[in-house]
């Protein structure tokens, strides 16, 4: 493995997230703060999931064998549940903070819930991606041969693409989830939870990269389309944007310059 693999995989996994950060979040201090708080909430959810897994392992006395694999799968699924729970908790916190900000700043436009949904989704996604991939990435910088024991030689590439899709999925899930909470559409929350469980479960068939990665990407595209419509986009606005005819957007950009 070389620096080429390191940089390649790093940019595959984190490039879009970095671009999203630089272009949409880095300019506004309040958004950066909410991003970091979102990352913190994800971290706390991971802490609770690890605690659960650790306790489950201690209860079964660390016996080796298939039970460890089942425990791991159980741990992963419980972790997904806990993550979504913390997303809900973060939503409640943001709601309270938003109301507080509004009462303090009646004239100032506090960030809208949709924006906060996007920021929180990105926070969750970045933290999740980083925690999943950074150790593997740092190993890729050192010497070694991938797949020498018969595993797939595409280990790094697969992990990088998986990390990318998880980050983007978290963004979309955040948007859909918050919108569901705002409009009290609990079915949306359920769909987010189930799709997260599905994505995680798909990774259990790990050696078959093709299926696992492709289906996850399909889920991501579907979630992306749903999030786009939920966030207020429409086919017409998409067309205008792509053809650079969106007057509001162009004017807004000029004004802010």
């Amino acid at each position: 493995m070389t620096a080429a693999v390191f940089f390649g995989c790093a940019f595959i996994a984190f490039g879009p997230a970095l671009a999203l950060y630089i272009f949409t979040i880095a300019t506004e201090p309040l958004r950066v703060i909410f991003l970091i708080i979102g990352a913190f909430f994800w971290l706390v959810s991971l802490l609770f999931s690890s605690l659960f897994w650790f306790m489950a392992r201690t209860i079964t006395d660390n016996k080796d064998g298939p039970i460890q694999k089942y425990l791991l799968i159980l741990g992963a699924l419980v972790s997904v549940l806990i993550q979504e729970m913390f997303r809900f908790v973060y939503y409640k916190l943001l709601k309270k903070a938003s109301e507080g900000l509004k009462s303090i700043n009646p004239d100032e436009t506090a960030p809208s819930m949709r924006l906060l949904a996007y920021v929180s989704g990105l926070g969750f996604g970045i933290m999740s991606g980083v925690f999943a991939f950074v150790n593997t990435l740092s190993d890729s910088l050192g010497p070694g041969t991938v797949g020498i024991h018969g595993d797939s030689p595409q280990f790094f590439l697969n992990s990088a693409f998986m990390t990318l899709v998880i980050i983007l999925l978290h963004v979309f899930w955040g948007i859909i989830f918050f919108d569901g909470c705002e409009k009290k559409k609990w079915s949306a929350l359920l769909v987010v939870l189930l799709s997260h469980l599905l994505v995680s479960a798909l990774t259990f068939i790990s050696p078959h990269y093709g299926i696992n990665l492709v289906s996850t990407y399909i889920i991501m595209v579907l979630m992306g389309i749903w999030a786009f419509f939920v966030a207020g986009g429409s086919c017409r606005s998409l067309k205008l944007c792509l053809l650079c005819q969106d007057k509001d957007f162009l004017l807004f950009n000029q004004r802010s310059r």
């Binding site: 703060i33 913190f40 971290l43 799968i73 004239d107 100032e108 933290m127 925690f131 999943a132």
Partner: protein, 448 residues
């Protein structure tokens, strides 16, 4: 310590006020005069103390003169909150930079993770066979270290009370000299060794001389703000690296915990040394220190140039870094007048001034201890990046919460306790619980 500062346009005094204090356009007369500078030592967030009458006055002023006189206090708070977020980021950036420097050095230069002896402040060794003995030794080390710090702080307070300014000044200059020249030379040497780059002595001499001399000028006298900030970040990182190298493992964690407790006590108790120092400085209407407090203030300017008589007359008590990185002794001074070049004559947009003047100050000891925590997390154990990142996020969140509390309570607050507590909790829990979980998941390529 965390301090906010603001300057008055009229007086051009730089004073610390919390950012929550309004954005007042007519800077309250409160700000002026003496306010300048009581900054405190590193680890407490200090808010300018004022005498009680002044306080009332100021309060009244603040609430009245938000951006527009006569606005309801809601507007003022609103402006405050807007400034609050900006200031949080203005502190996030240097803290992050310092941690990045420390972690990058720890991960690449092996010198700072090798055990080559201990400081004399931690005489007990940790190479003992039993766990109980090791724990006892680390607690003893901590007690010795903390008592050294307390003694030095009290010594400094006594010196300050008896107006031995030259002594303190000289002491501080000696310490910055040592940091900027000796430690930089050692650091440069180790980095060159790691990357196997040869450098001849004349080049080395020229480099270190330039770096150190410009640093001394920037920190103790005048210089561009960004350069001063960069130097302060560098010396905090160097000091943190020294601590990471020479503090034995368990002692380091216990010391971090003990220092947060001490910070809490020293800043909030009525008889705490730091608090006494600040109050004395306030009584005398003097700024406390130049250097050793990181100031995030934006440039400003005009008024500041005029500010002078007080600032120039004021004593700058440089802080002795070696004494403390830990800080208690550090006092910061609002050094704007000294630090910024007054760019424009006259009073161009006075309104602009307010915005630019507000800033936050954070003591260098806080930088150092945050970096020690993150650096230790990076150095120990299995070279796990997850632990380092978790500590990093925890510290930033702690800083955010501290700033929020500062905004709510409007008084000096110690910047260490919340962040270090979060950092310690996350270090131990991530290292022992999260790391095995994530490693097992990663080895099976499971994603959650």
């Amino acid at each position: 310590m965390l301090t906010f500062m603001a300057s008055d346009s009229e007086e051009e005094v730089c004073d610390e006020r919390t950012s929550l204090m309004s954005a007042e356009s007519p800077p309250p007369r409160c700000c002026q005069e003496a306010r300048q500078g009581l900054e405190d030592g590193d680890n407490a967030a200090q808010w300018r103390s004022q005498d009680s009458e002044d306080d009332l006055d100021e309060d009244a002023d603040r609430y009245m003169c938000s951006g527009v006189p006569g606005q309801p206090s809601g507007l003022e708070e609103e402006l405050t909150l807007k400034y609050g977020a900006k200031h949080v980021i203005m502190l996030f950036v240097p803290v992050t930079l310092c941690m990045i420097v420390v972690v990058a050095t720890i991960k690449s230069v092996r010198f700072y993770t090798e055990k080559n002896g201990q400081l004399i402040y931690t005489p007990f060794t940790e190479d003992t066979p039993s766990v109980g003995q090791r724990l006892l030794n680390s607690v003893l080390n901590t007690l010795i270290m903390i008592s050294v710090i307390v003694a030095m702080t009290i010594f400094l307070v006594v010196l300050y009370k008896h107006r031995c300014y030259k002594f303190i000044h000289g002491w501080l200059i000696m310490s910055s000299l040592m940091l900027l020249f000796l430690f930089t030379y050692i650091y440069l040497g180790e980095v060159l060794k790691t990357y196997n780059v040869a450098m001849d002595y004349p080049t080395l001499f020229l480099t270190v001389w330039n770096f150190g001399a410009v640093g001394m000028v920037c920190i103790h006298w005048k210089g561009p703000l960004v350069l001063q900030q960069a130097y302060l970040i560098m010396i905090s990182a160097l000091m943190a690296l020294v601590f990471i190298k020479y503090l034995p493992e368990w002692s380091a964690w216990v010391i971090l915990g003990a220092i947060s407790v001490y910070d809490l006590v020293a800043v909030l108790c009525p008889k705490g040394p730091l608090r006494m120092l600040v109050e004395t400085a306030q009584e005398r209407n003097e700024p406390i220190f130049p250097a050793l407090i990181y100031s995030s203030a934006m440039v400003w300017t005009v008024g500041m140039a005029k500010l002078d008589p007080s600032s120039q007359g004021a004593l700058q008590l440089p802080y002795d870094p070696e004494m403390e990185e830990d800080s208690y002794d550090s006092f910061g001074e609002p050094s704007y007048p000294e630090v910024f070049e007054p760019p424009l004559p006259g009073y161009p947009g006075e309104e602009l001034e307010e915005e630019e003047e507000r800033g936050v100050k954070l003591g260098l000891g806080d930088f150092i201890f945050y970096s020690v925590l993150v650096g230790k997390a990076a150095a120990t154990g299995s070279g796990d990046w997850n632990t380092t990142l978790a500590c990093f996020v925890a510290i930033l969140i702690g800083l955010c919460l501290t700033l929020l509390l500062l905004a709510v309570f409007r008084k000096a607050l110690p910047a260490l306790p919340i962040s270090i507590t979060f950092g310690l909790i996350f270090y131990f829990s991530t290292d022992n619980l999260v790391r095995p979980f994530m490693d097992t998941l990663a080895s099976h390529q499971l994603y959650i």
